[in-house]
């Protein structure tokens, strides 16, 4: 009973009921939500629900190579006899984890920098932070990622680092725009006049009002980061075999096209599904906040 009460209080505070109403109006957003929830579930439960979990790692099964999809191997087997279905599910796990790590690394510093730059708009902090961000943003993302990744030794970790290094300015720019607009609003000035600590103002007054666009961006970004990560792996600069990264799997299976199409195709479709899911979800979240702004 206590939990129910608490949930109710939280829902009221953040107006969750209305937000859900707006979100659920679009069937596509609901589809996105379902897809992502399913993906997260698969990712978490991967070792328990897949038939051949060890084949996501080093185990190979050389006598069962190149088998087409069947009831024993749902998505068939690859060139080393590993179950493609298992590896694809683990691929979900890996992609989501990678996106999570990258965003965790990127979002907090990005937002903090943007808040500071926006709050102290016009000062040297502003100029410094924004000029540096502009430099990163001016270069096309994939090119930037490739450049950085190319000088590092190809690995899953390094590709995550490369993407993180180039991704933070987008959050800084987003938060900066919102913060510098809100900075001169009366409620902020009122807090200042009352002698409120600057940092308190930034985090308690300004930040909550930026949350809408930030949350939308985070959701859409998961899709983008996964896309970028799989692209890097595809060209060989990311996760290396035998890591079950979806991009690496597509690349690995591409030499066997069109004959053993399943080795590439299922991971490819998995990539599409997961990105599509986050795009739909992100649009739904955007709808929640857009109407609020009106």
């Amino acid at each position: 009973m206590q939990i129910v009460e608490r949930v109710r209080i939280i829902a009221k505070r953040y107006d969750l009921k209305r937000k859900w109403f707006r979100f659920s109006r679009s069937p596509l957003s609901l589809v996105g939500l379902v897809v992502i929830v399913a993906a997260i579930f698969l990712a978490l439960a991967a070792p328990y629900i897949t038939p051949y979990p060890r084949e996501a790692g080093l185990q190979t099964n050389l006598q069962d190579r190149f088998l087409p999809p069947s009831s024993k191997y749902l998505f068939g087997t690859d060139q080393l006899g590993r179950d493609v279905f298992t590896r694809t599910v683990f691929g979900f796990q890996y992609s989501l984890m990678m996106a999570g790590v990258v965003l965790l690394l990127v979002v907090p510093p990005g937002i903090v920098l943007g808040l500071i730059a926006g709050y102290y708009r016009g000062s040297w902090i502003d100029t410094l932070v924004m000029r540096i961000s502009d430099v990163f943003i001016a270069v096309p993302p994939l090119i930037l990622a490739l450049s950085i990744a190319s000088v590092l030794t190809p690995s899953a970790f390094n590709s995550m680092m490369a993407v993180s290094l180039m991704w933070w300015p987008w959050y800084t720019r987003l938060t900066y725009n919102a913060a510098s607009a809100l900075r001169n609003e009366y409620f902020v000035q009122a807090s200042e006049v009352m002698g409120e600590n600057s940092f308190r103002i930034m985090f308690n007054e300004i930040l909550p009002n930026c949350l809408g666009s930030i949350l939308t961006k985070i959701t859409l970004d998961v899709g983008w980061v996964i896309l970028l990560g799989s692209a890097l792996s595809f060209v060989g600069l990311g996760a290396q075999p035998p890591t079950p990264d979806l991009g690496t799997m597509v690349a690995g299976g591409s030499i066997f096209l069109p004959g053993q199409w399943w080795i590439s195709m299922f991971p490819a479709v998995a990539i599409i599904v997961i990105i599509l899911g986050f795009n739909l979800l992100g649009d739904g979240i955007r709808d929640i906040f857009v109407e609020e702004a009106r």
């Binding site: 450049s147 950085i148 590092l152 799989s230 692209a231 060209v235 599409i272 599509l276």
Partner: protein, 341 residues
């Protein structure tokens, strides 16, 4: 601010970013663990050979000296020596860049035409069947990474339906035209060999589609939402109330303001095209610059990588200038902001 100032500032920023990027890449390459001279010479080379190579490549000099040496060379047209292709990178660029350019140009044409058609149809019939179809298709189109699309297109239309060739610029047995620009399409046009031109274009369709699909769908959505948003605006009601014909209202007065947000992202679209080339050229075995670039990257060919970043940067900067000019032409408010309101 004035248009020319605006464009100059933007260009300046891009140039600055690219210089910054080249420095970053330059520094990273030399600072990170791994000895490039050793990597180039191979693991079995004797130490003296590695040292000699290091001296030869100028890797023993301090970092900033190396950078300025490189910069000086670039300004004289010398992009350095590639240890992978074993020749001057400038020669590599001249050979491989035209092929990428023709792909990008064709992809850009597909993208503009496609996004217009899809966006206008969706906007005109908004919330009805054609619109819903376009929306679903664009959603999916945006969510497919270029390399996935490339493989799927190849699988379905090349392997399965046998409608298009699988790889390469020209079919086996067809002689290329005499090389003037290095671009097969342009050269065959100049030489008047239309059968070669046709064959080359046929080979370009699938890769170009893979390059532009994401951006095409994105732009279609922007155009569509622009049209839907502007449809109920007063100036459209006014135009209708004056009895202007439907076609004029839609294709002239509704389209132009709706296009502007789409054109604004065109610069980013071109960037996407260039970036996607890295993913697509490999799949179709296209002898282009991006394919070469990947080879550089995988082999840690530092000169190659830095030269690559530079070239792409310059192309991107030029493309942005062009796009900015087009946007200013379309939206007079940007052009004339210092006068009037």
């Amino acid at each position: 601010m004035r248009l020319s100032t605006f464009i100059l500032r933007r260009t300046g920023l891009i140039v600055f970013s690219l210089v910054g990027l080249s420095i970053l890449v330059f520094v990273l390459a030399r600072v990170l663990p791994g000895d490039p001279a050793r990597a180039a010479a191979g693991n079995n080379a004797p130490q003296w050979a590695v040292d000699q190579l290091r001296r030869q490549l100028g890797l023993d000099k301090p970092l900033y000296t190396q950078y300025f040496v490189w910069l000086d060379n670039v300004l004289h047209g010398d992009l350095g020596y590639s240890l992978t292709t074993k020749r001057d990178i400038t020669a590599d660029v001249i050979q491989y860049l035209p092929a990428s350019l023709e792909l990008i140009v064709l992809a850009a044409m597909f993208q503009i035409a496609g996004s217009f058609i899809l966006g206008i149809i969706a906007g005109r019939y908004s919330y009805k069947a054609p619109d819903n179809l376009v929306r679903v298709v664009s959603y999916i189109g945006i969510s497919i990474p270029a390399f996935v699309l490339a493989i799927i297109l190849q699988l379905v239309f090349s392997w399965y339906f046998k409608l298009f060739p699988t790889t390469g610029e020209l079919s086996a047995g067809i002689a290329g035209p005499p090389a003037i620009t290095g671009s097969v399409t342009v050269d065959s046009l100049i030489a008047g060999k239309f059968d070669v031109l046709a064959n080359a274009l046929w080979h370009m369709v699938l890769p170009a589609l893979a390059l532009c699909m994401g951006a095409m769908c994105q732009d279609a959505r922007i155009i569509r939402s622009g049209m839907v948003e502007n449809k109920d605006k007063d100036y459209i009601s006014m135009a209708k109330s004056q009895g202007l014909p439907d076609r004029t209202v839609t294709l002239k007065y509704l389209l132009k303001p709706s296009l502007i947000p789409a054109v604004t992202v065109m610069g980013l679209d071109i960037a996407a095209l260039m970036a996607n080339a890295f993913l697509v050229e490999q799949v179709f075995n296209w002898p282009g610059f991006a394919n070469l670039g990947l080879t550089f990257m995988l082999n840690k060919d530092l000169n190659g990588i830095v030269a690559l970043v530079l070239i792409i940067g310059i192309m991107y900067a030029v493309a942005n200038i062009v796009v900015d000019v087009i946007v200013a032409y379309l939206d007079p408010r940007i052009r004339l902001m210092e006068r009037g309101q």
